[in-house]
Symmetry: C2
Subunit: 456 residues, 2 copies
Amino acid sequence: MRNILIIGAGRSATSLIQYILEKSQEEDLLVTIGDISVQNARRLAGGHPNAEAYLLDIHNVHDRREAIQDSDIVISMLPARYHIEVARDCLEFGKNLVTASYVSDEMQSLHHKVESKGLTFMNEIGVDPGIDHMSAMQVIDRIRDGGGKMLMFESFTGGLVAPESDDNLWNYKFTWNPRNVVLAGQGGAAEFIQEGTYKYIPYHRLFRRTEFLEVEGYGRFEAYANRNSLKYRKIYGLEDILTLYRGTIRRVGFSKAWNIFVQLGMTDDSYIIPHSENLSYRQFVNLFLPYSPTDSVELKLRHNLKIDQDDLMWDKLLELDIFNGEKTIGIKDATPAQALQKILMDKWTLKEDDKDMIVMYHKFGYELEGKKKQIDSHMVIKGEDQTYTAMAKTVGLPVAIAALKILNGEITTPGVLRPIAKEIYEPILEELKDYGIAFDEHFADYLGYNPEGVGG
Amino acid sequence: MRNILIIGAGRSATSLIQYILEKSQEEDLLVTIGDISVQNARRLAGGHPNAEAYLLDIHNVHDRREAIQDSDIVISMLPARYHIEVARDCLEFGKNLVTASYVSDEMQSLHHKVESKGLTFMNEIGVDPGIDHMSAMQVIDRIRDGGGKMLMFESFTGGLVAPESDDNLWNYKFTWNPRNVVLAGQGGAAEFIQEGTYKYIPYHRLFRRTEFLEVEGYGRFEAYANRNSLKYRKIYGLEDILTLYRGTIRRVGFSKAWNIFVQLGMTDDSYIIPHSENLSYRQFVNLFLPYSPTDSVELKLRHNLKIDQDDLMWDKLLELDIFNGEKTIGIKDATPAQALQKILMDKWTLKEDDKDMIVMYHKFGYELEGKKKQIDSHMVIKGEDQTYTAMAKTVGLPVAIAALKILNGEITTPGVLRPIAKEIYEPILEELKDYGIAFDEHFADYLGYNPEGVGG
């Protein structure tokens, strides 16, 4: 039996482990699941005869190295910062590695050694990053192979609540790490390029510079710009492209209301609020408003952010109960971002039978034989329940498929990789279709952002 | 002769050196002026018989140590980050030290060694920090000595252009390091406390939460909050104070217009603009506006920031010529903040005969015998010309006076100090009056921010 070691049995590992266990008989696999919580590992092993669940603390160097040495391939579903230790052991013991995380500089620095040992360290093979890379490169390669020249690439992804479980005014619930949602967009201006012109949006304007997206059967969405669109020029070989933009999808109206928190300073994670544990939600809001004891917190907020009496944003705030003077933050030494997260989790936590939904939308603009054309492609995936979520499926299945194809010698490219080469994305995208993960494509007229070709 | 070593002969050292040279005969002083530019040092020495100007590169360890070893006291007017090397040498060779800069953590860490050697390292003895400390502590100590209890301390300082040299719509010119003006307020939320309630203002709201100040004979000013008001609770012994606020003074209307740059993202210093050297001012502005080649940069900016047709802010922008398509930034690898600084320096550089002005305003609220009272005190100092500026006078004279008093044994408190003890501030403030640096005080009714005592 071949031993697949899966390190980390959190929420994102459910569909991954399900896939591998289903294949374990025909593929002759022993599936070893190590987690810091042996309960987690056991739950996902589910008593399967080919599965072994055990306690693995990756900070215990001896245990970690032994587990890796005993394996035939390693899948790391740990938080991204822990991959590098696993990767170093894999390099030493000559094991292939698969992760769903962004390639860190440290990981990248192993490339030549990994390559010269003939090993494959496949990263960024979840959903975003992962399915976005593969689905985009498939169309980009097809356009280029047909003689087309890429003019525009725009790509949008969002983790949302499925319409049937959507029961709040924000049309949003936390489907992944809430902390990342609260901090989204921070750390520098969003950079992108439109028709050859660089554009920058500072964090405090990000949620007011959205654009709309129409997804057939699902209606209208909006997207705000990601910080790092420009790095995809190099990764996708689009150095000369005129327009490159990546964004995050929300339901229409989310960003305008979220902007209230940004404007007030509630998403700041850089300082601690004194006595935060005893602060009421109302007092928390008041920290960010001018002192004026004769005016209500409500009116101060309305006036400060110029929110009209009949603005629906107001109902969104009321729904979150942020003016409640009784409910307390209850977290010691909380930053504003942590306090806000607490308030949001009261309302935005998925219920037992809620379903999540992943939406991905690409636009490819290109020129072929003197004509400008456009392909739009999109994917919508819903979760089954709170275990086999859309997020777990779209992150875990590409990881699992890639791991098995590497183990079986179907993917052999050596090095520290992203799934952007045809050899890698073609078979994986093909198999993902069996699990309902597929893109709808349609042709559109390419208008770009400068249809009249005027300057400026 | 006693040897006073002055390291650094930049713009802030003029009045300092003038003062010491004027005293050099009666005080029997040799004034040694070392600077990385021997021209600078020579210019300030002015051929005075008691002055010696020479090239001193403080990174040349041998030269630096020799100069310090030969001196009787050291004044460091270097950029703040360089003081620590000088301080370590002073400690080793048993020399007293005076600087106008904030006490860094490294400097603070020398305190016990400095104290046990009986040395005085006097810091923060310029204008802000410096005169603010001394003038505030003088009133605070007087209130406390009289049995009063401090309720409120608010303090505002600004470096401005004098009214007779004020000829632009912003009523502002650069009187000090322009870079610090462009970056002012960045690095975290402004924190302060009002009537016992903590208040936080994020950077992107800072310039819209100003308050007004009236200075007799000079009219109306505005102030925006400094980042670090709360640290003065400990420094001034005001741990229980209800209201503590420090701010920066500008002429009314400056902040509202400056906010345009903040909102657009033009003050960001964290990334480099590609091809910045060839970018026109107009193209620079367009980086921060949505792509739309059929609309003018002007209209996009007006629409984006909702600037009305008749808003005076617009004239302030036009005065800066920021929509000029011919003028170029001309700086390679410039950040937005560096590019903006370039544009501003075209218009805000002081002319040959322009005068600068320092305004400082304190409000002290206190309770005495059951009654609430308030003292307001303020100082306005104008420069004589572009050499003996208000900034050079108010920074340099306290430094010079302190240095001489330490040299003469009139100030003997050992340790790494700020001028907050009576022994230090009383004689210095007294002597500063001879140079026209004095505060006007008047009593006012204390209203505070909660005159009706209502809650919330």
